[in-house]
Amino acid sequence: MTKQSAIELKNITKVFGKVVANKNVNLTAYRGEILSILGENGSGKTTLMNMISGIYFPDEGQIFIDGQEAVIASPKDAFKYKIGMIHQHFKLVDAFSAAENIVLGLNEGKYDLKASTEKIKEISSQYGFEINPEKKIYTMSVSEKQTVEIIKVLYRGADILILDEPTAVLTPQETERLFSILRRMRDDGKCIIIITHKLHEVLSLSDKVAVLRKGEYVGTVITAETNESELTEMMVGKKVSLNIDRSEPVDPVPRLVIKDLDCIDRNGIKILDDISFTANSGEILGIAGIAGSGQRELLEAIAGLQQVQCGEIVYNDPKTGKEENLRNKTPMQIRDLGVRLSFVPEDRLGMGLVGNMDITDNMMLRSYRKGRSVFLERKGPKDLAQHIIEDLEVVTPGASTPVRRLSGGNVQKVLVGREIAAAPTVLMAAYPVRGLDINSSYLIYNLLNEQKKKGVAVIFVGEDLDVLIELCDRIMVIGSGRITGTVDGRTTTKEEIGLLMTKTEQQGEVQDE
């Protein structure tokens, strides 16, 4: 007997501007089955699911629900087809109780919270949720909030559930509980689609795995018939040659030594766990990992923007040879110590530059404390702005244009230019080429290489494994806030890094070359 598919995608294509987010994706999911969608960051998983849940509309292709062609133009349409999506970012009203959030926007006759509460309790006991419908959202843990989101979808009668990286915010115990609930739903005949990039979760939970790579559909395999290395290969693909010049490091000496660093985020979850590594001068140290594995917190901890629970951040001053501990110092204190630390944060206009100020003023953010006059010294920053515009070929009407009006690549050039102009001894760059075209990207790579030749210790957080392998001397891989391995950029392969990225439990000690 052939099973009727719950949802089927045929040749789905979605383009944002020039970027192809999804290209000819074919996918089929059945009732009573858990389908995992696996792919790297930016492989188009979330875009695809957003098209099923009505947030985006596909440019090409068709969607079939229960064998019938369906047009899903809005979240309301999706709800009509009994599709429910649980987003990574919860859509809940904090000041409301769970029950109020669940019934919000529904029109089911009389407004009766008591009756709704009963129905919520019924759903909860059916699938094994633990929830107090009267509890306010703002007093809830992340896992409880997620439970509310899932019940919200079930309350509306959804039988095709899409979960976008549901485990990213959960502890291992909470993840296990969620999985047992999902299995129960599957046995109840619901179709469950889960987006993830954690291989071990895919293997333990799903019946089938569909793999996407750079927006393209690679294939679907039955979980029982596959293994980690096959999936990794499907996910990362073959190596692409990029031809980035990579010179040998010139007499590297330890510049920044991190020892046993621990960090806790706002929700009390351990975001960095026992991180130890050394960044050498004249070397590019790459940091690879799934987004949100602690890269941001690590760089911010070094830059003095993130409180550290324990551990040490030791800086070796190349001039005096003195050692300074930077742990829990403010950026200003770090600067006053004579540590020349430059930081290109991933949030360019949020943390790096002030969007409404012009290029000159943004240069001044680093030099406003210079000079003794009451008035600011504008000449230096203005020359520097002009210098950066010429050297880095920033496309702008002039140095007095607000940076907000520049394109992403040009904004990044301004930021990197300013940080390099500070003549750093340590340069940290988080996703410096994100959203940039090929030429701008190469310009940034060359800038980083130049700094390396000058003896700067460069720390590069990247997402494109091909670039990391071509550019970096050593690549440190982080998974769930722990170092899962450090490899040599000259000898490693994408598969090796891919496996390390998806590995959560630490195996063996961190190896330094």
Binding site: K91, L92, V93, D94, A95, F96, E100, L104, G105, Y138
Partner: protein, 329 residues
């Protein structure tokens, strides 16, 4: 004397209650309408203009006046005038995403200016010697009391001797509380004010809710202005006599923790505080001014206590004052 003091406090408190009930509804939709003082002022002058025209049409003879029309005409005028103010505010802040604080303050300035202009014009028409217009006939209809109230002694005076707008204010506040807490419309409205993106995703028409909440809120606030002229001031309009009651109504919103029912008690408490100086003997003029600060001092104390308690129910709606763009998710 105590009874008299309480009655006076209630009379003083009613305009505040209208103003803050209206403002609470508006703020629950996420809009901080600082135009409330202007809106109340416009409500008052609209009512005055309406009743002025009606009194003139009846030849200034109370015998010719229909009690029903004498009440309903100013009432409708006040509601329409105040709603128009709300509509302007909505168009600027909801549709054009203008800054709410600036828009509100501008509307207050506009409303008071407009009120004074119309007031001065009417005074001009009557060629009165005094800088005021007396609508005592209309006022007598507004402040009509229940006939049997006087027979019931202190009880009658305390609970039954007020004008109908006082009872209406309490009814509106109670109804508003019930709507906010116990109906689907109220739930949706609160969701809009707390998190418009979530409300939008849940299929709630955010713009519609904002418009309705602000316009209805403004209309209610306008009644406060009308009650002030017709009952408190016995139908005598003079420019700027309304004073800072509008601001006090906004302070009362905070005092009431965004709950119209608490605003009832709060309004009367504010009324009592404003009035206390008249009942304490031996106060100099300067001390009297100090007494007038009391409502604001109490509001600041309430603010301090509620922010220390950190309970979200007692905090302003989360996206109060923030414009909502659907595209900016």
């Amino acid at each position: 004397m105590i009874i008299q003091f309480i009655c006076r406090a209630i009379l003083l408190g009613v305009p505040l209650l209208y103003g803050s009930t209206g403002e609470i509804l508006t703020e629950k939709s996420g809009h901080l309408n600082l135009g409330i003082p202007g809106t109340m002022y416009v409500g008052a002058i609209s009512g005055v203009v309406g009743s002025f025209l009606y009194e003139n049409a009846c030849g200034n003879d109370i015998a010719n006046m229909n009690p029903f029309l004498a009440v309903i005409i100013p009432l409708v005028c006040a509601l329409v005038g105040a709603s128009l103010m709300g509509l302007i505010y909505c168009f600027l802040t909801v549709t054009l995403h203008a800054n709410q604080n600036v828009t509100g303050l501008a509307l207050t300035t506009l409303g008071i200016g407009l009120g004074n202009f119309l007031g001065a014009s009417l005074i001009n028409i009557t060629k009165s010697e005094l800088p005021s217009i007396a609508l005592t006939k209309t006022s007598s209809f507004f402040s009509a009391k229940l006939p049997f109230a006087e027979k019931l002694g202190w009880f009658g005076e305390l609970f039954l001797s007020h004008d109908f707008l006082t009872y209406l204010a309490i009814v509106i506040a109670v109804v508003a509380t019930i709507v906010l807490k116990r109906t689907r419309v109220g739930l949706n409205l609160r969701a809009v004010g707390e998190n418009p993106a979530t409300a939008d995703a849940a299929g709630i028409n955010v713009t519609k809710y904002k418009y309705f909440a602000t316009c209805i809120g403004s209309a209610i606030a306008g009644l406060g202005g009308l009650q002030y002229v017709m009952s408190y001031a016995s139908g005598v309009w003079s420019n700027n006599a309304f004073g800072d009651r509008g601001w006090m109504a906004i302070a009362l919103v905070i005092f009431a923790l965004w709950n119209p029912s608490i605003a009832i008690i709060g309004a009367f408490a504010f009324g009592a505080l404003c009035n206390a100086n008249n009942y304490i003997q031996g106060l100099g003029t300067e001390t009297q001014e100090l007494f007038k600060m009391l409502p604001y001092v109490v509001t600041i104390i309430v603010l301090i206590i509620t922010s220390m308690r950190k309970k979200r129910e007692y905090q302003p709606p989360e996206s109060l004052g923030l414009p909502y763009f659907r595209e900016e998710r």
